[in-house]
Point group: C2
Chain length 230, copies 2
DNA sequence: CGCGTCATTTCTGGATACAATCTACCCTCG
DNA sequence: CGAGGGTAGATTGTATCCAGAAATGACGCG
């Protein structure tokens, strides 16, 4: 209300190309971080006022989030943050088990020195975030690592699907696996997958990737079941 | 709370309660029908005037279409209808080959009389549309048939992915396979898949489904390559 | 004659204002 | 005392209007 007429350069933290995209990203992070828990209703007016903008970019952000499956919009009834059922989580991990290993086999052939350096730096950062307990950073690095493994698979649609799967299993992971001790094992497996690729033992790397995803699945599903049984 | 156990069968018949949703559906149909060819730029103002509405619902519709991958929006530069490259089409069919057969194996066990009736009516309508040369109806029925085959797989995320794949390979199919004679073969294979399921020979049905998708893939990719080489 | 620069024009992105719809509470009636 | 309906508040959906970015064209300069 104080500065409606003056062009507010007060878009401090909203420094993207469009306000809509910035709001989308911000809301997405907050949902993934658990600040907006499943079931919570997101009101356009409140969000608009909080960001200091009008409701239009908020609406567009919510639409994009709905497309990504993070919220559900019902006409005239607002947007609600979606949660994943145990069945959905299991399905997501099964899909990852099915999709990622063959893609790795395709991609790993084309790895060069620079790729291995990048992958190692990701696993290093992963371990560091793990030690520091930075759960959100951990999830981000995990997703980057897995996507980077498949980078050269040359299957555009497959990669976009896997990317979506990673995002969605990232959310329950951040929320509930942070207390689990199984992340160290994941870290070790990541390192080993890279080493196998570099040694040219690609099919072994693919097998390990599948086992890695399966391990993460059982660990996460167990915790997820426990949390949902409450 | 957990998700309602009742399946959502009423999603398609639901009347459009908002202008935005109606515009989304209309534009989607027009893109799938080829009225808006890939590369065409969709201007908000023109569409709004054509529909006799303001630009806001048009913008939201375009956002939803972008989320579905049908258009690509670049900031301040408008929305253009996307096309699929040959690599993407191949990838999509490979994914379908990989995903659909195991889902059919899961789903087919639960088929009851009513399901077989529905599937047969779909194949019948398919053949009829084929004979009548109704390409758009054909594509719609094909998609319904494949999704109906997997209806009881109980893999929510898998089904939503397959649904997206079907929509995207439906578009090039409608545009270019209409002239091909391979649709009769597809029709026959559809019928046979249902028959195998009904006879309890589920793994054979899954194998045939995979072969069916593979056949469609080689046929479509060949035509697609030819059209793109011109 | 080609190219860079600037103004105009067009279109999209965002803000404000208004209308339609849903929710909740209260009042009346059986 | 409970059920049904109606009204008021809140919240979303849409229209209109304004500002800013990108495409287009003309003009001047090398």
């Amino acid at each position: 209300m104080s500065a409606p007429a003056s062009p507010p350069p007060a878009t401090d933290r909203l420094r993207h190309k469009t306000v809509s995209a910035a709001v989308t990203e911000s809301l997405r992070q907050r949902i993934l971080n658990g600040e907006f828990a499943p079931g919570i209703q997101l009101r356009q007016d409140a969000l608009a006022e909080e960001f200091g903008i009008s409701r239009i970019p908020v609406r567009e952000a919510l639409l994009q989030l709905e497309a990504q499956g993070l919220v559900r919009i019902m006409p005239h009834r607002g947007a609600v943050v979606t949660g994943l059922s145990v069945e959905e989580v299991e399905d997501i991990f099964r899909l990852r088990e099915q999709l990622e290993p063959p893609l790795l086999a395709l991609s790993a052939r084309r790895f060069a020195e620079a790729d291995y350096r990048r992958l190692r730096s990701l696993t290093d950062g992963y371990g560091a975030a793990l030690a520091a307990g930075q759960v959100d950073r951990w999830g981000e690095l995990n997703r980057s690592f897995h996507l980077d493994l498949l980078r050269y698979a040359d299957r555009p649609r497959s990669l976009s699907i896997v990317s979506g799967l990673l995002q969605d299993c990232d959310r329950p992971t951040r929320l509930q696996l942070s207390a689990s001790g199984d992340t160290a094992r994941a870290d070790h497996e990541h390192t080993q997958i890279v080493a196998l690729c570099e040694a040219g033992r690609i099919s072994e790397a693919a097998d390990l990737l599948q086992a890695h995803i399966a391990h993460a699945a059982v660990s996460l599903v167990a915790i997820y079941r426990q949390a949902h049984a409450e």
